[in-house]
């Protein structure tokens, strides 16, 4: 059996950046944003798009990893896109961050006490209680999600879906 992975992978601890974009909701805007990353060989770790409070605008929260100089270029190039109203790097800002994960664990009725114990500890809700499987919903910081997933992996983890991180700056400062 392989050694368990550390709770938070090195790339996340060292280099992960969170960028939020406020964009004019026009066709092609997502492709234009993605191309700014792709052209520089920069990997997007997660990307969440949803309508903003004002009509015709959307918010994107992007987490990515890579060297800071390239990221400075990327943010400026994102800002340069006609449909991007603003692009901000929130790494290190006083912001509330959260993420949701759905996890499916394969386990029989008599093997699940450990899984339920882990779930309870992390405040995860059981959303499907099946004969041979459990589905858990857990939310919180990306680091917390990494931790529960690491613990569930040896318990028969079958499927994992993460929403990607969303973030909002505290107080009246703009996200």
């Amino acid at each position: 059996m392989a050694a368990p992975e550390p709770a938070t992978p090195a790339w996340r601890r060292d280099h992960v950046r969170t960028i939020s974009l406020y964009v004019h909701n026009r066709p092609g805007v997502l492709v234009r944003v993605a191309l700014v990353f792709a052209r520089r060989g920069y990997n997007i770790e997660s990307l969440v798009v949803s309508p903003a409070a004002e009509g015709h605008f959307s918010r994107m929260t992007i987490t990515c990893s890579g060297d800071p100089a390239t990221l400075e270029q990327i943010i400026k190039q994102l800002h340069k896109l006609v449909d991007v109203v603003h692009a901000l790097d929130h790494t290190g800002d006083d912001a509330y961050e959260t993420e949701i994960a759905l996890v499916k664990v394969e386990c029989g009725l008599h093997e699940r006490s450990e899984v339920l114990q882990i779930a309870e500890h992390f405040g995860a809700k059981v959303t499907d209680y099946g004969e041979n499987s459990l589905m858990l919903r857990v939310y919180g910081s990306s680091e917390k999600l990494d931790a529960i997933i690491t613990l569930l992996r040896p318990c028969g983890l079958r499927e994992l879906i993460r929403s990607g991180k969303i973030l909002m700056v505290r107080g009246l400062q703009e996200t």
């Binding site: 492709v31 234009r32 270029q73 800002h79 340069k80 006609v82 449909d83 991007v84 109203v85």
Partner: protein, 571 residues
């Protein structure tokens, strides 16, 4: 036609073009764009039918660069649209305003591999400033207004508009649009006053200041302000390949072009300055050579309208975001001159010590032909250049005195640009003398446009510097690859004089130095297009030269006697 008739999308589009002041469209028809060509029949806009869509984009680009107004291209879907990609890249890299309108298959067929369908917005995302796929005819007036505004404000660039055939042929009852709302798009003008004042202090304190002028100064028409700054500071000027003519290159403080094939005295000034002020220039790798060693001990001020250029190649001491002319005018208002007499004398000494030179004996040389072209045209012609050795020699020997008199593909280095760009420039400025300087390689990429010039009786001139080689690559192979020539011999070139004659174009040949003035003058006097072929030495090299990736101080001024290391730069 009654007054109340609802126009088609195509008619509305053409009316929008008229409202934007468009006088010429460069285009090639096809199934998906017939409705728009049909609408042009009733328009005062002059349609210039090209022979290949790439030619249309370069013509529109030449038109735009000669005037500062957007050039307009109209092509059909699929291959017609994909043929514009090179022209879009060329315009984007050099910040040139283009409007490229592409026909598209009917909206119901989008994504179904219909005949002549291509995902044109998808293919062109990386080579446009912005683009539109119009799926509702009522959007046409807004899209057209936005497209022209985006193309020619801020840092200009190409905008593509993809219009399905059912949209152009269906009705459009939307009103014209005056006000536009683009919350994600701001146009910078002035830089913050405290930064301007900080820049003025750095300039005052510099003992060896240098003004490095690029395409941004051309676009904002900053030449007068650049000259005034140079005269008040007593600072020399150098320019990039694209910045030629922004400030008068014949001014005593002007040292000409810098960079890979710039003048030795310009590059000496770059190496020894203690302050370099980039005015609408972006520290391109052709200019800096090895960035880590570029002006290491000099203060750097960077003036650019595009904030993404700051800290991209290097970190300036002061960045000034804004329009080059406006920011320079603000700077002049607070500028105090420093003491630079010794520096000016040093630059003048370099100019005397390392002049541009070439042998006038031992065969016809391109430099000689271009030097004479400069004199025969009294330095007043609009010159378009293609890409290669001839381009560098033209940049060296044809001093550009006025803005928008030098047009070439710099960033993209697009062979085939020169001749169609000259056609576009001549349509834009019929009263100006327009010469294309091209090589035999690049010319053959777009020479079909001889027909376009011929059919309009357009008095554009084309000078082919013919060495029967892809000369710049041959030069690299000679200098860096043990002269192992590979894929550079253009054997099979046509007789260009006969070729021109076949289109009904008068043509002249220069075989020896004694022919030069006579043949150039003969070409000048032709009514309609004229072509001159200079049969130059096959194996001549462009010097000075900074090998790609080497520091500017490693400039090679004279032909080397020994083999050189392979350059570390990519191209």
């Amino acid at each position: 036609m009654t007054v109340d008739k609802i126009p088609t999308g195509a008619e509305k589009l053409v009316q929008c073009l008229e409202r934007e002041g468009v006088e010429h469209i460069f285009g090639l028809s096809g199934g998906a764009v017939i409705p728009i060509f049909d609408a042009l029949v009733d328009s005062r806009i002059k349609l210039i039918l090209v022979r290949h869509e790439q030619g249309a984009t370069h013509m529109a680009d030449g038109y735009a660069r000669a005037t500062g107004r957007p050039g307009v291209v109209l092509v059909t879907s699929g291959p017609g649209a994909t043929n514009t990609v090179t022209g879009l890249l060329t315009a984007l890299m050099d910040s040139s305003p283009l409007i490229v309108i592409t026909g598209q298959t009917n909206t119901v067929n989008l994504g179904k591999d219909a005949f002549q369908e291509a995902d044109v917005t998808g293919i062109t995302y990386p080579v446009v400033k912005h683009s539109y796929l119009v799926k509702d005819a009522r959007d046409i007036p807004r899209v057209m207004r936005e497209a022209f505004y985006i193309a020619n404000t801020g840092r200009p660039g190409p905008v593509l508009i993809d219009i399905p055939k059912d949209i152009s042929s269906g009705p459009c009852d939307a009103p014209f649009v005056e006000e536009i709302s683009l919350p994600g798009y701001q146009v910078p003008t002035h830089a913050p006053q405290e930064r301007v004042e900080a820049a003025a202090r750095l300039l005052r304190d510099a003992e060896r200041p240098l003004l490095y002028v690029g395409q941004g100064a051309v676009i904002s028409n900053a030449g007068k302000a650049v000259i005034e700054l140079a005269e008040r500071l007593r600072a020399p000027i150098v320019n990039t390949l694209l910045g030629k003519g922004a400030a008068d290159e014949t001014h005593p403080l002007h040292l000409g072009m810098m960079g890979m094939h710039g003048t030795a005295y310009a590059n000496k000034a770059v190496v020894h300055c203690d302050l370099i002020f980039a005015i609408g220039a972006r520290w391109d790798d052709r200019v800096t050579g090895k960035v880590d060693e570029f002006c290491m001990d000099a203060k750097k001020i960077h003036l650019d309208i595009d904030t993404a250029e700051f800290n991209k190649v290097l970190r300036p001491d002061i960045s000034l975001q804004g329009d080059a002319r406006l920011v320079l005018e603000d700077l002049l208002a607070v500028l105090e001159p420093g003491e630079t007499t010794a520096w000016i004398e040093r630059c003048a000494a370099w100019r005397r010590q390392y002049p541009l030179k070439y042998p006038k004996k031992g065969g016809l040389r391109a430099q000689h032909v271009l030097d004479r072209l400069h004199h025969v045209t009294e330095g007043k012609a609009v010159i378009t250049a293609d890409v290669g050795q001839h381009q560098m020699w033209a940049a060296q020997f044809l001093k550009t005195a006025a803005n928008r008199h030098w047009i070439t593909s710099g960033g993209a280095g697009t062979m085939g640009f020169g001749w169609p760009a000259a056609i576009g420039a001549k349509f834009a400025r019929p009263d100006a003398e327009v010469w294309a300087v091209v090589g035999d390689g690049g010319f053959q990429m777009t020479m079909a446009e001889l027909a376009t010039a011929a059919v309009h009786g357009l008095s554009a001139r084309c000078l082919i510097i013919n060495n029967n080689y892809l000369g710049m690559v041959r030069q690299w192979q000679e200098l860096f690859y043990d002269n192992r020539l590979s894929g550079v011999d253009l054997e099979g070139n046509p007789d260009f004089v006969k070729l021109a004659n076949a289109y009904g174009i008068e043509a002249f040949r220069i075989r020896r130095a004694a022919d030069i003035d006579r043949q150039l003058k003969a070409a000048r006097s032709v009514k309609g297009p004229a072509l001159v072929v200079a049969e130059v030495l096959k194996e001549d090299n462009v010097f000075p030269m900074i090998p790609a990736g080497a520091p500017v101080s490693h400039m090679i001024i004279d032909p080397p006697r020994h083999r050189l290391e392979k350059p570390s730069g990519s191209t």
